[in-house]
């Protein structure tokens, strides 16, 4: 795998490699809103990390407290939690609709695309709408087998209010 280099000139979002990455991010968003967690987890590589940090400025996730810091093992357990019917927060989870937009390619190679985006999620539960705004970063491994085999290797969800009190959630960002 070649190491993607930071861009000196912007790569347009119409670049076919970026288009593949954007489509994967949108596919992921749709699966999360549908709570199709098994299919969602299948979009992640075995070595992938899914993280929702508390400190929006840190890159040292292992050395910091996070809301989510999942490797493959934790992600599998989380999927089980969300679907097995024991977790009362997941059983009665809010319905969510999310918009992911404002894509900015940060690094692009034939093997990997690093993409920033903005996510606005509205969660509705029992008469209340909660707003979750986040800056997303996806690192996506492009597969030689084509877009259907592309995988997420890192996702970082930086909430605008990650250091403040947020609702306890029965869904995933």
């Amino acid at each position: 795998m070649t190491e993607p280099t930071m861009l000196t000139a912007p790569v347009p979002t119409t670049d076919p490699r970026v288009v593949r990455a954007v489509e994967l991010v949108w596919r992921e968003a749709e699966l999360l809103d549908r709570k199709a967690y098994v299919d969602w987890n299948a979009l992640y590589a075995d070595d992938a990390i899914y993280v929702i940090p508390v400190d929006p400025s840190t890159e040292d996730f292992a050395g910091s407290l996070n809301m989510v810091y999942d490797d493959a093992r934790m992600r599998r357990m989380r999927v089980t939690r969300m679907i097995e019917g024991y977790a009362i927060a997941a059983v009665d989870a809010a319905r969510t609709i999310r918009t992911v937009t404002g894509f900015v390619p940060r690094a692009v190679s034939d093997d990997e695309v690093v993409l920033r985006s903005a996510q606005i999620l509205v969660a509705y539960k029992r008469g209340h709408h909660d707003l979750w705004a986040a800056d997303l970063l996806h690192r996506i491994r492009l597969s030689p087998d084509g877009p259907g085999s592309d995988l997420i290797v890192q996702k970082v969800v930086r909430l605008v209010d990650s250091e403040e009190a947020v609702p306890a959630a029965g869904f995933l960002l």
Partner: protein, 423 residues
């Protein structure tokens, strides 16, 4: 039981409280003044204020405050409010500063709250005596690095308020494994419910295997077994007086310093044992690993903090039906090689705690449901009578029952009733 808000103390009997305690805005208003502006309220752990000039901003009840360590090392808790026109003087959650300057007209205050400077002071000649316009101060005292403040100048000393709790604070801090304890980070979340629902929960062993079945199903067998206290007769809750209680879920870890060496270390930490053993001796490693899940008890302090196994749970009442919670992760404050312990403790904390943990969201769902259900005939009682018939004094004289019983809730509501009574 009377059911009027003019005499809220009448809404609490020994084994039950009126549901209205969760839903009546007038009762909430009275609680803010009679409880949160009168008794000792937890504001900080000393590790959050490690050096002169460090500060944190927080709340006592609904009132914003700043906690500081001044140049002489003395801790202060002061209202976060300029004496001039009332602007907040600090909006940073924590940091280091030489003092605080109001953004509106630049009145400046020292770390001890003294008013240092007023720009263009000629307009105040013959009008203002700066020595009378320090930031409004609360009494601040600490025990075992736990810092509390009170609005009441006549409150009993903190150590008297804590009483027998002090022994349990000492035991709690033993989880540093030979090092002091420090704050590692904090989760913050909110729920739509009254603060007392949360206050009850940290002394509620009864809900654990039901609400936390999802977490129990996800952990290793040794950890699940450690938390299987439902039928363990040695797992008990003590009423420690003044509304405080301690719930011993894992009694063999209540006093971490008492170790006969027979208990095997949990297999899940084997990699950590190997890493630590490169620099620490076997006894030090054992101490740190045995304390990975914290102490075996939740120490519930009335009204706003629980020292809960391996973290602090701090509640902040927002309104009658909204409460914000902090789950503060802690760990040993040791040399760099001990940071491996803290990385692992962060992972253990993340697994259960916080808005996306495997435990907290299920707690919050349960609490939301209590608030919603309690709207139905708020005069109906909330029952806190579990274990009443088997509650007996311990050798120390503490009213004691099984860990799944509601002894701790009865203790808290007893103090609530005392503070809410007309005097």
């Amino acid at each position: 039981m009377t059911e009027t808000t003019s005499n809220p103390a009448g809404l609490v009997a020994g084994d039950r409280v009126a549901g209205r305690l969760y839903t009546d805005p007038e009762i909430f208003e009275q609680e803010m003044t009679r409880i949160f502006e009168r008794t000792w309220v937890w504001v900080a752990h000393e590790s959050e204020l490690p050096r002169p000039g460090t500060f944190k901003s927080t709340h006592v009840g609904r009132q914003p405050v700043i906690v500081t360590r001044d140049r002489k090392g003395v801790l202060h808790t002061m209202l976060n409010r300029c004496r001039h026109r009332g602007a907040s003087i600090c909006e940073k959650p924590q940091g280091e500063a030489n003092g605080f300057t109001c953004p509106y007209h630049a009145w400046s205050y020292g770390l001890d709250g003294k008013l240092r400077g007023i720009p263009y002071p000629d307009g105040y000649e013959g009008v203002v005596d700066k020595s009378e316009l320090s930031l409004r101060k609360l009494r601040t005292e600490s025990y075992g690095s736990m810092v509390f403040a009170t609005f009441d100048a006549d409150a009993v000393p903190l150590e008297e308020f804590l009483g027998d709790v002090r022994l349990w604070i000492d035991r709690f801090m033993a989880q540093g494994g030979g090092y002091p304890v420090k704050v590692l980070g904090r989760h913050r979340f909110k729920f739509r419910g009254n603060w007392k629902i949360q206050l009850e929960n940290t002394t509620d062993g009864y809900h654990f295997p039901i609400v936390h079945r999802s977490w129990m199903a996800s952990v290793d067998a040794e950890t699940a077994d450690m938390m299987s206290f439902m039928t363990d007769p040695t797992a008990v809750t003590h009423d420690l007086g003044n509304g405080h209680s301690v719930m011993q879920m894992v009694p063999e870890h209540s006093d971490l310093d008492a170790d006969d060496g027979t208990e095997p270390l949990q297999g899940r930490f084997r990699h950590l044992v190997e890493e630590l053993s490169q620099t620490l001796d076997a006894a030090q490693v054992r101490k740190l690993i045995r304390a990975m899940h914290g102490t075996g008890f939740n120490l519930n302090l009335f009204p706003n903090v629980s020292m809960s196994a391996a973290f602090f749970r701090v509640l902040r009442p927002i309104s009658v039906d909204e409460t914000w919670i902090e789950h503060v992760a802690i760990g040993p404050d040791g040399p760099p090689e001990v940071e491996a312990v803290n990385r692992e403790r962060l992972r253990v904390h993340e697994h259960f705690q916080g808005p996306f943990g495997f435990g907290t969201p299920d707690d919050a769902e349960g609490w939301d449901r209590v608030q919603r259900g309690a709207q139905a005939d708020p005069g109906m009682p909330i029952m806190v009578n579990r274990g009443l018939a088997r509650e007996k004094p311990s050798a120390e004289g503490w009213p004691t029952s099984h860990v799944t019983d509601e002894t701790g809730m009865r203790a808290a509501y007893g103090k609530w009733k005392e503070l809410m009574s007309d005097d």
